[in-house]
Amino acid sequence: MHLDHTHSGPAAVSADAHRPDGTRRALRVGLGGPVGSGKTATVAALCRALRDELSLAVVTNDIYTREDAEFLLREAVLPPERIAAVETGACPHTAIRDDISANLEAVEDLEDEVGPLDLILVESGGDNLTATFSKGLVDAQIFVIDVAGGDDIPRKGGPGVATADLLVVNKTDLAPYVGSDLARMAADAEAQRGELPVVLQSLRQEAGVRDVADWVRGRLAAWAA
C-alpha cells in the first residue's frame, strides 16, 4: 500500500523518504544491542562529535525508566528539545521492530518541532541478540556489543551481529581484564558478516567514537546524494 507524496495530512507511510511538505526527511540511524554494551555512551559520543556539523536529534527507548534520556540530558550532549523518550511496555524489541508506531511519532514530532534535521539517532532499550530495527523505522542500524559480554558473541552470530549495517565491539580497553581475545572477536565477526563493516572501539581512548562517526558521515553523504 502506498500513499503518494501529494497526500495531505500527516505522513502515513513510514519508510517514505519525504516529509508531507515534500522535503527530504532526516536520515534515521538505529542503535541496538544487549544491556550495558554502551549504546547510550556511544550515542552521547556521537552527539558530541557531530553536533557542530549537523542538525541532529535523539530518540531513546527505555524499558522501564527515562534513565537513558535523562543521562543524555544531564550530559547536555544536545539541547533538551532534541531528545525524546519513547515508552516501550516491557518489550523494547516490539517498539523498534513489530510495532514501530510510537517511534515513528517521536521522529516525526522531532522533525516538526526542532527541524529541519539531518540525522536522528534512535536508541533501542537494551535487549537480546535477536533484536533488530524495522526498515520502516530506520535507514541504517548499528549493533553495539562489548568485550566484557563474552568474546564468543560474534561467533554465535544472530540477527543483530550478522546483519546490522555496522557492528561495534565496544570497551576494547577492558579486553585484558576480562580475558577477551579481540583478534578472535574480529575474525569471528568477519566470518559472520562478510563485507559488512566492524568497528572495535574504546570510548575511553583517544580515538573514541571517531570510526563510528565517520561511518555515520558516510551514510549521510549517501542519503543526501
Partner: protein, 225 residues
C-alpha cells in the same frame, strides 16, 4: 465487506501501539489489587462494563457514520483524567497511522487532519472499521475486546501469570462481551436516529481514572498507562 478484516483489526499484533499500555493493570498490580487470575477476572469485568462499554459505543457510533469530531468531544467528556486523555489520543494517533496504511479512506484522512496529534482511540477505531468495510457491531466488539485483552496481556508480563489462566479469563468473559457489544450498538443507533450524543453511555470507573493519573507520575514503570 470482508468479515476477515475484523481478525486483522482485532489482532494483538496489529501495529497500533497497544503493547505499551496496561489499561490500568500495572497500577492495580502495584497496589496489590490484582495478584492472580481471579483478581484479573474481576478487574477485566469492571473495565469491560465501564471503559469498555463507553469505548465500544464510541467506536460503533463512528462506524455508523456519526461525526467523529463530535464523538471525540464526547470521549473527552467521558475521560476525566488528563493522563487517560493523553493516552487515548496517543493511541488514536498510532492507530490512525496503521489504519491509513492498511485501509486508506478520505474519512480517515479528514480525521487525521482535524487531529494531527491524535483523536480518541475508540473514535479512530470505529472509523477504521468503517474504512475496512466492517459493521458497527464489529467495531464495538473490537473496542470491548481491547478493553480486556490489553490488561490480560499486561498482567501476564507483570505477574508472571500463567498465560493459559489469563486467556481463560478472557474466554469466560465472552458472553459479557457479547452483551456489551450489543448495548454499544444500540446506543450508537440511538445517537444516529435521535441525533443525541448523550445517548452514548457514560459509565465511569473512578479508580481507573485516579490510579492512571498517579501512574503517569511514577518514575519507574513498565507500561505507558
Amino acid at each position: 465487506m470482508s468479515r476477515a478484516a475484523l481478525l486483522v483489526l482485532a489482532d494483538g499484533r496489529f501495529p497500533a501501539g497497544g503493547h505499551a499500555h496496561s489499561g490500568g493493570v500495572e497500577a492495580a498490580v502495584r497496589a496489590g489489587r490484582v495478584t492472580a487470575a481471579a483478581d484479573l477476572a474481576e478487574f477485566c469485568r469492571g473495565r469491560l462494563h465501564t471503559t469498555g462499554l463507553v469505548s465500544a459505543a464510541l467506536a460503533a457510533a463512528a462506524a455508523l457514520g456519526t461525526d467523529p469530531v463530535a464523538l471525540d468531544a464526547a470521549a473527552d467528556a467521558r475521560t476525566p483524567a488528563p493522563a487517560l486523555r493523553t493516552a487515548a489520543r496517543r493511541l488514536g494517533r498510532q492507530l490512525m497511522r496503521a489504519a491509513r496504511a492498511t485501509w486508506p479512506s478520505p474519512e480517515l484522512d479528514a480525521l487525521a487532519r482535524a487531529f494531527p496529534k491524535g483523536a480518541h482511540q475508540p473514535v479512530v477505531l470505529g472509523l477504521t472499521a468503517r474504512s475496512a468495510g466492517l459493521e458497527p457491531q464489529d467495531a464495538a466488539y473490537c473496542a470491548a475486546y481491547e478493553s480486556v485483552g490489553g490488561p490480560a496481556t499486561a498482567a501476564v508480563r507483570l505477574l508472571g501469570l500463567d498465560p493459559f489462566d489469563a486467556t481463560g479469563v478472557l474466554a469466560r468473559l465472552a458472553p459479557e462481551l457479547d452483551r456489551v457489544a450489543d448495548r454499544a450498538v444500540e446506543a450508537a443507533r440511538e445517537v444516529r436516529d435521535e441525533g443525541r450524543l448523550d445517548a452514548l453511555p457514560a459509565a465511569s470507573a473512578p479508580l481507573l481514572e485516579l490510579t492512571a493519573q498517579a501512574h503517569a507520575g511514577w518514575p519507574v514503570r513498565l507500561f505507558a498507562s
